[in-house]
């Protein structure tokens, strides 16, 4: 412990002032690095984690399952319904919405070059730009066709709200699940971006189902669930942060099997 004490007395404000208690505590109850190493190695051996290849397979399974669930709900609700919309409108509208949703998902779900995830600005950018782009695309394209942005008095947007919520749950839950415990630098903003991306995927599906492009309807039935998913993602962002893990019960006879203190 002399080395530790000596280092704590080395020049530097933080070390000077952290030294006393740390050194004392170390003398009293600390364990040697080698002992700690063997204990952690034993803990890790007792609880194998999936390597990259297996984790990638699981990732695709979870994402594929979520996509299938969303598609099943969409199909149960009636699937594609042009309902008076010309193909020249609904096809590019849906393609554009899908492209925006896919871009948002790729940006939010992929970490980029670092394990810390995207920057705060990028994550906020995803959350802000995605609903704005989707809304602008839908309204802009529909306004090129006569009568396509007219109000539908009997359809304020509650059915779309329900369908958007139902189709978005699985993708949002899947993405949050796959990011859990991986400690991004901004867990809540990452959750916000993931929630928004999942909501955007739901938007792309519901866009194939809903013929209405009136602003009030879009705000209630399409934008609101997207924002709600973003808020849910942000609230659940704590799940993504590093967390205290309960060590596994070590096998009898494993060396240094003292459990991690809770």
């Amino acid at each position: 412990m002399k080395a530790l004490d000596a280092a704590h007395r080395a020049p530097g404000l933080a070390a000077d002032h952290a030294a006393g208690d740390a050194g004392d505590a170390g003398d009293a109850g600390g364990v040697a690095m080698d002992e700690m190493k063997s204990r952690i190695l034993a803990t890790v051996t007792a609880a194998p984690a999936r390597p990259r290849a297996a984790a990638t397979r699981v990732r695709w399974l979870v994402l594929g399952g979520a996509a299938l669930a969303a598609l099943a709900i969409f199909a149960l609700a009636g699937g594609l319904r042009p309902t008076g919309r010309p193909a020249a409108l609904w096809l590019p509208t849906a393609a554009g919405a899908l492209a925006i949703a896919a871009a948002a998902t790729a940006l939010a779900f992929r970490r980029g070059p670092s394990m810390l995830g995207r920057s705060a600005a990028a994550l906020v950018g995803i959350a802000v730009a995605t609903p704005l782009l989707l809304l602008a695309w839908k309204l802009g394209l529909s306004s090129l066709f006569s009568e396509m942005t007219r109000p539908w008095p009997g359809r304020p947007g509650f059915r779309c709200l329900t369908l958007s919520t139902a189709t978005g749950v699985a993708p949002v839950a899947a993405m949050l699940y796959l990011w859990r415990g991986t400690a991004p630098a901004y867990p809540r903003l990452t959750g916000l971006a993931l929630g928004t991306a999942g909501g955007a995927l739901a938007w792309a599906l519901v866009d194939l189902w809903c013929p209405i492009a009136h602003a009030h309807h879009l705000l209630l039935g399409h934008v609101l669930p997207l924002l709600a998913f973003g808020a849910i993602g942000a609230a659940a962002g704590g799940l993504l942060a590093a967390r205290r893990l309960t060590p596994p019960r070590l096998r009898p006879g494993v060396a240094n099997a003292r459990p991690i203190r809770a």
Partner: protein
């Protein structure tokens, strides 16, 4: 005890990154090298932040366990240490919060006369002159500022600190400036107040 020799001998970041890459692809034997790279640095950060070696060891174990659990998600070619520091900082913040809650609960259970007793000037002066008060001030700093202080203690240059923390040199300078200002005011504040 040779903790600091461990620290001196800690693997170069690029070697640690390569070890983490190997570990992520399934080479379990690489975990020892990851431990050698991460443990001394995180232990030093946690000891400085918490001032309690037992808690600091817990942070090291939890950090490595988090890395292990998430190894399949490790981005190929990503640097290991910024991630390890991010995990450790989060765990330290949680620990500090938990301790504060425990202290508040303890204070709430104390009899009112004990709570109301003001500290004497001598006690106050003594408290601020001890290393403990600055340690508390360091512990009260936001996690990123603590990390910058810690890396400065390691003798890292600004650019290396920025790379380690996954941020810019400007942000590192700002954090360092704010951390030092907070510590300065924590150390000098009461003395200045007593000046006529």
């Amino acid at each position: 005890m040779d903790e600091l020799h461990h620290d001196d001998a800690a693997l170069e970041p690029s070697m640690a990154d390569a070890a983490m890459d190997r570990y992520a692809t399934g080479d379990d034997s690489a975990f020892g090298a990851i431990y050698d790279a991460v443990a001394p640095r995180v232990l030093a950060l946690a000891v400085r932040s918490l001032g309690d070696r037992t808690l600091a060891e817990d942070i090291v174990q939890q950090t490595l366990l988090n890395i292990h659990r998430a190894r399949g998600a490790f981005v190929p070619g990503a640097p290991l240490m910024p991630w390890a520091y991010a995990i450790a900082r989060r765990l330290i913040v949680d620990t500090v919060r938990r301790r504060r809650r425990e202290v508040q609960l303890d204070q709430a259970e104390e009899p009112p006369e004990q709570q109301a007793r003001p500290a004497t000037p001598h006690e106050e002066l003594q408290a601020h002159q001890t290393a403990g008060s600055l340690r508390l001030a360091i512990a009260a700093l936001p996690g990123p500022q603590q990390a910058v202080l810690h890396l400065r203690e390691e003798g890292q240059k600004l650019s290396a600190m920025a790379a380690t923390l996954g941020t810019t040199v400007t942000a590192v300078k700002l954090r360092l400036h704010r951390a030092m200002a907070s510590l300065r005011s924590a150390a000098l504040g009461p003395v200045q107040e007593r000046r006529p």
